[in-house]
Amino acid sequence: MSHLADPVAPVFAEEWGRLVAGLIAWCGDWELAEEAAQEAFARAVERWPRGGVPDSPAGWLTTVARNVVRDRLRRRGVETAKLALIGAGPDDGTEAPTGFPDERLRLIFTCAHPALPMPARVALTLRTLCGLSIAEIARAFLVTESTMDKRLVRARAKIRGARIPYRVPPPELLAERIDGVLAVIYLLFNEGYSASSGEELLRVDLSAEAIRLARLLHRMLPEEAEVSGLLALLLLTDARRAARTDGGEIVPLAEQDRSLWGRAEIDEGEALLAPLTGTPGPYEVQARIAVEHDTAATASETDWATIAALYELLPATPVVELNRAVAIAEIHGPEIALRLVDELSGDLDAYHLFHATRADLAARGGDEVAAARSLDRAIALAPTGPERRLLARRRAALADGVDGASR
């Protein structure tokens, strides 16, 4: 639906999720809610350009969509009594009053329910909240439309059949479930971010959708530190987007043109972190690491000591340790870092960045033979073309005998 006629497009971006969320609350049927919302927008596309945008676009859409729901239920032979149950009497099109500041909050939590498989959580979120078409979601995740459709059908069947509640979780579950929602948004962002490096120009902008969702969640849960932390992390990472690639090729952080970084996003990210005073959660810590990079005037002015200390606040997974070792190399030199990295070889042997980091440290320590060997391994493991080409350029520079090839 990204090609809607002009007067409808801005309303779609703002109202789709709210409309679907309200319809689900009203009729309890996810599929029907989506169909009716889609139909309502289709009619808007038909009528608004000629007749003008109604005074209350949301009210207009709700009325039309509810009528679609009623029609479909009647055609399915649902009797009047049951229609009355879902409030199918004539209505004035205003949203049913609810106890929530925004209907979409319930939808976000239900889409991210832990009893749904992760790919289904992501797909449901994109479909019901963001309004992406099944074709768009399928393309974003490189699967066929019918596979994506089945995934959504199955997810809706589980919500209905296993009775996953449509609600904001009660206080005792809230923290854990917020983590689940944040995980979906984070995955979405990373999916979009790694795809943004060239090869998949047709993919919808998942990173932008993730930021939009994180903003929405932050508006609804402004007191939740990790929600602020995640939004800040996404903004501070996205700020570097324009400098991150050059003609489809990856530009490493140290070599990026910092004047291309998005000042507004960096400022917003910093402002989000400023009021947070409690023990920082993992998203906030990662955001604070991103701030250190984003606010260093040049790569050599990066405050690596602070970054290394921040990494210590994260759960010590092998990948976190690898990143910490990179910071330590900048403080204490490559030899100490190399020893730390080597301890991770058992866990990270299949991870291309492990070998790339090893190569970098070895080269800086003067061992070009070891560096070349590690780079060969990294190239073989690299998942995308742009990453492979970046590593190959480093490898070529080594072979030419150029000192410090990887910097």
């Binding site: 009893a115 749904l116 069947a157 059949g161 296993a162 009775r163 996953i164 509640p165």
Partner: protein, 246 residues
């Protein structure tokens, strides 16, 4: 909504002292809350018996319906408002110390079983009806009229008569949710406890004179694969000091 909880345990798990008290605590709590309809632990020292229908006839053999790392150790039938409540109920069960609990919604149409007194001269067998359910869709409520029609299974239910305490078809594994405890926190995942070709698709709790009678009833059931498990004595809720009942 009714949910069928399948308890599975790792045979190598270490069980702490005082497990029985924990079990009794859970049973008492859930009974008190009105959540627990019935539940029975299985005799793990008695191997399962498999009744399998083949092209040449019915074969009765030793062994479970599928080889899985974790073994089915018992079940609970609960009544919960929604999946979150079922997850909370399962998440509080001591099975999670050394195993997992699969939560499966019971298919629509099951009446709440009548309470019963276990008979001293009978044994209880849990009958697990299994088949390949890949691709099976959610069983939807048939709506008005549909429930009155007589199904083939009704003849079997009549035949089993009072020897069948209760039973039902379950929603397919696509609607299953499995609860485990990892590093002290309850984790929830989509899907059954193990990805086996054949999955539990329904259950019946029998009260019979012994294995032979259980096998005879299972033979008549007509489905391809039935796993019979001898039940242990269920843990009874603790009766509070006489002051709580109205």
């Amino acid at each position: 909504m009714k949910y069928f909880l399948t308890h599975v345990i790792d045979p190598d798990a270490d069980w702490p002292e005082g497990l029985e008290d924990q079990l009794r605590g859970w049973v008492t709590e859930m009974d008190h809350r009105g959540v627990l309809i019935d539940g029975v632990p299985l005799r793990l020292d008695v191997p399962p018996t498999c009744v399998r229908r083949t092209q040449t006839g019915v074969v009765v053999a030793d062994g479970p319906y599928a080889e899985t790392k974790e073994q089915v150790a018992g079940f609970d039938l609960i009544e919960a408002d929604d999946l979150d409540e079922a997850i909370a109920v399962a998440g509080a069960h001591p099975t999670l110390i050394g195993g997992a609990i699969e939560i499966r919604p019971v298919a629509p149409g099951m009446a709440t079983p009548e309470p019963y007194e276990p008979r001293a001269d009978r044994e209880q067998y849990l009958m697990l009806v299994c088949w390949d359910q890949s691709g099976d869709a959610e069983i939807r409520d048939e709506g008005p009229g549909g429930a009155d029609e007589r199904r083939p299974i009704d003849d079997w239910i009549d035949h089993a008569a009072e020897r069948r305490l209760h039973g039902s078809q379950l929603q397919p594994p696509a609607l299953a949710t499995t609860v485990r405890r990892v590093d002290g926190t309850v984790t929830v995942t989509d899907g059954p406890f193990a990805e086996t070709k054949e999955q539990i698709g329904g259950y019946d709790l029998l009260e019979v004179t012994g294995l032979d009678e259980a096998v005879e009833i299972a033979r008549d059931h007509g489905s391809g694969l039935i796993d019979l498990r001898l039940c242990s004595v269920g843990i009874q809720p603790e009766v509070a000091g006489g002051s709580t009942t109205a």
